[in-house]
Symmetry: D3
């Protein structure tokens, strides 16, 4: 299992569901129109510039539809693609390849889309800070999208509500920062505590309460810089809220540790990837 | 069940999976930090202009997390939203509302994003043609996204390989148009046959073979117009391939019946929707 | 839970699968054509003579599709039906009732078909022997069909390979009767042992080995009578193998304890049951 | 994947459920009584005349129970069988073969039963019309039964409520023919519309409204002939409602395009198929 | 399938769930820290004296995580272990072995714990009686624990409420012994009936009513002996209720057929089993 | 949702599986012997001293079997019990209560067993250190057991391999401490790193590398004390490895932050809890 792969059971579950969706009750009506014995060779190629992700899913699709389909990968997750790049070669019974094609491409193009937009943010941050994902993922695909974020050079924030403490504004409407942090120490000791802050005052409270991380939400780069100076290393600092490719460089220059961007998972356009039949 | 709703079992399945993703093994660590007895009221509001979709999913999320959460909907799927519009009011045990919030919003914002971009294409086509979706959907969410397309005013193409015959270029590398159509009549009688065409010659072949629909792939509006004239009503005509908001009007003006757009499902950015706590 | 009901989780599992089959990805296309607010009242009626079974399944279908559908049952499982008998009244949102109709009827008519043919065998046996089912059931519906057998007055043989020891001809090609019975005493003590016998000699071996039951396979009524006399109460005797409504009376007259009939589950024609809309 | 095969995930799902039913919690009690190292060879043979279907399911059963079981098929789905015909040879660890036997046979005999009765209707129609299945299938087995219908020479009507528009009497109690057809054009454009008709008047309405298919329900052959003449090619015509092997020839002679028969799926008796151990 | 193995689908289901638990959404964070290409060899060794069980589960774990892991078993289920005994050798990609390790050991150590405590009771009974399990098993693991009981030399009581009739005190608060036995004969003929008895009077009633087994609950060895004498072979006798390793010998000496012990499944401490890396 | 509750979907999944196990294919054979209309009232009572856990599971069992069963809880999770304490009152249709009884008790007694042994360790540590669980849980029940640990006053270590970085001896055979910690900072930034140490040397390495936690494995209390002094607050310190109720006090006295104990989940004997029918 590569660092870029999601856990295998989540790959196989997502693939099984996608194929159920696409095969329906009668299977591939159109595939039945081509000769039973025909074979098809094809190449999976990039039609646009980007970063590859989703290889484990596409492999699973082909294998699930027909173990007789051979897939030879030319590139791995995390690799840069330019238009025309061959990603993989596929060969097998024509009906099987035709049946699997769209589902395999749907995974590759969606997850490569996530990796590609992540890479753009990472590049724009110029190594000064790390780009983190959020819980704003496509329902049912979180783990796959978080793996694609890693393929794009981003890093993963918590995977679920169970995987990290993040005290947000709606919590703070009900409990004070210091009480919340204190409760976290008692109930979930040994886990870092992050507090969402919309002002320097809250930042000070959070650091004073011992939070390991502060999340600066919807602040300007200047405000962020002020917070960074005031915190002075006492906590890890993360920025979030509407950061775009245009603004990420400014935020990165403030010296924060992380910038988290919901758009890399919730609004990533696909990367155009196609299967071209090889005509001999 | 409204025309805009997906089948209930697909709603509940998708919601259950999304909550499994988000609750993890220990549940909401942070939620446990607020007082057990606290209540929370909130409003789901639009932060951007668009079209609502995903109400059935969001309702299911709240009900699944805690039947004690009351949701009162102010707007339904298919309705136009402007920034600030209240979509729904939510009230219940604070921990439960906080736990459900993100998953409910992920469904609403993704599916409303699909409805919104669909509506833009529909508007740009000015009623001259219908906008259809494709099988280029997000894996695991096809049925939900197709319902969102309906909410946006689009219409559904086939839901699966089992739900329609569409003879594409990769099929035609293996079988002739007339043989394929003939086989379709024998194997799957009573179902319309659609043939993807990249030239006027193929269009002629398809119509001669009796295809009910021709899909003009990657043609210019001028070429499309020529095809429309030549077909002269003998088949329904659909256009696909890289149609954008900028070009859809030109294609619509050619008189085709359908324009199908993969981007409305595979590359729709979310519609920004949030849950604001009501402070009294 | 009535004696005629299958375990609830098997009812809900079978119903969920059947509705998934019938709703597909887009739901009920035709139902969407009737007015959203229309209501429909109907009566589930018998069109032929028989015995009712499957009420729990049909209830679950209606409730699963829409809790707003009200079902009032006029008759219960195991009850005799004559053509025209009202089985239940159904009322609710028209779209929901129309969507649920076919699936509910498929359960009722299949399971009532099983109950009906069972009752015919029971009646033909005139109380001299009991009619048992077999493992020759429709894949995926065993538990439901076994409940329908009970509704028809039959009794259940083992529900699975785990639910009873039955040493058959193919086993006896590999192990002797006495060794098999001995092994059963060691490995699975406290469970009755049944031996399939195709001759009086095997019957003698089985009884000598201490088998609690002997299964006389494909014997004539006369041969069965001879076996009954020879066994003389030392074991319970069951007959199987191609027993029909024409011959079951003769077999029953031999004094055997059980006659098992695969056809009551594997070849039962449906009982004709319909949903008639009530026109007011 | 052959034209006669159901989608693989539906085969594996149905087989997994059937084996769960038959293995129960302790597995095959009786199988444990034969020597651990014994091997068993057997032949799957037809005991009656008919048409084979269900090969994919039976293969899956043996492979699921034990990959060490070798199955060599002598005949494929859709092939005619006469009593005594060898369908397949099976060899492997005795316990595994014995455990798998009944479940494999239950699939083969049920699905071949469907194919066989379908073939009888097809033969009786003498090629003048096609025999179609309905949604009156055994709950949980629809896709498998529809594949068996194809193996018997029949053709598939819609697979689900999502897979075709069929406006029936209960719909017409709530909406007029022309309004229903009009709504179908708006909501589900590009899909053929079928209208169930119980009189010539409704037929005229349906054709006038532009329906692509009319379904003549419960009419006599003479009435059907009148309708065929009146429609005169303006729509495809289907007959349904209690058509039997005795009457199907008369209906076929009227010149209709399809005759749909619920009994080929809901009331098909099994085809008798057995596994005979090979004694050497 | 060995006599000591649970049905395969229950093994694979339990293993899949356990791996889902342990892999979470991001997979093995720590495994990603070791070199991608590293290999690891290890030995599964016993750290304490006991009986092995759970081999099928551990094999499934390794194969599920990575088919490239080779496992060579040195000992089988049911075999005695002394501290230091090598149970199996494992070799494969280091990350995969490390990921699978804990889940494989959790199955082996829990199920071997059940087998070990069972063996202790069996040994303490000195062959005078058989040790049976109960339905007091760990939720979700019943079938696996019952297989482990067999590995320890115990025998299985009923696997479920569906797998045997046992009339207990709470039933007898609602129905008389004779009525209950009579109902069992009618509703579930051919199945042995067991009656829980807390006094000699009830024993007499049960035997008089024709019960095949009596379960003496919470009696002293002396009382048990009295019952055995009074029953005098007319029924099989089982003892249950707080029997410990200290008292089982006394109960066994009374001549009862079975002693059932809940503690062998509900309170078995694990057998200490570890995976030691082989350093070369 | 209380802090002591597992996520609801894990409760319902575990309960559904346990009931499937116990209901089998035919349901509760014995329950069918008591009158259909009988009602049963009972009390769930403690038979031994301990701590309650598992209430959510038991509630779910009763509700799943029959919503007509009323359960009134007298005590909540985390509460001390003494023999005879009434935990809950149960009333409903007799057959339903009898069917649900064992499964409900299996959950309560197992999970209360975990809470009880946890509480003993917590008490023995006298508040000087916290007791943590491990990944050595019963397969399939991890989340439920971790909730029970919280009910007993313990705290949760990582829930899965995805939920925390713990570099163990088998990892250190393949990578150095400093390289592993460095890799963790790069790949999984923002997450604390724990290193298992079997010597003071490794402790020094781990602290020097910046590990937030060190896990002292299989050391004597004296060695632990030495490590605590040497670390001097630079890292959180955890002890593990064979700590028992006899030794936990000595370890706690060394000043470590956590003691983790596998036995509280993998070897907890049940707490004896019963359902007594109320005789009026």
């Amino acid at each position: 299992m590569s660092f870029y792969d999601p856990p295998p059971h989540l790959v196989s579950g997502a693939v099984a569901r996608a194929l159920e969706e696409d095969l329906g009750a009668l299977g591939d009506l159109t595939g039945a129109l081509v000769p039973d014995t025909a074979r098809l060779e094809g190449q999976i190629v990039a039609r646009a510039e980007g970063v590859l992700a989703g290889r484990a899913c596409a492999s699973e699709v082909f294998g699930h539809v027909d173990p007789a389909i051979a897939v030879e990968w030319a590139r791995g997750d995390g690799v840069d693609l330019t238009p025309g790049d061959r990603i993989a070669s596929v060969a097998g019974p024509a009906r099987s390849v035709l049946t699997a094609e769209r589902t395999a491409l749907n995974f590759l193009s969606h997850l490569s889309g996530v990796a590609t937009i992540t890479r753009r943010f990472v590049d724009a941050a110029r190594g000064r800070t790390q780009i983190r994902d959020t819980r704003k993922t496509t329902p049912g695909l979180r783990s796959l999208e978080k793996a694609a974020v890693r393929a794009g050079g981003g890093v993963n924030h918590r995977a679920s509500l169970s995987d990290g403490i993040l005290i947000k504004d709606n919590h703070l409407a009900l409990v004070s920062v210091s009480d919340a942090v204190k409760a976290a120490r008692t109930l979930w000791p040994g886990r870092p505590v992050e507090v969402e802050c919309d002002s320097l005052t809250t930042v000070e409270e959070a650091v004073a309460a011992g939070a390991e991380l502060v999340l600066l939400d919807n602040m300007t780069p200047d405000d962020v810089r002020t917070c960074v100076e005031r915190v002075a290393g006492r906590a890890t600092i993360e920025v979030s809220g509407g950061v775009t490719l245009d603004t990420v460089g400014d935020y990165a220059a403030t010296g924060v540790d992380f910038i988290s961007v919901g758009a890399i998972t919730h609004s990533a356009p696909i990367l155009d990837i196609a299967l071209d039949a090889v005509i001999r």
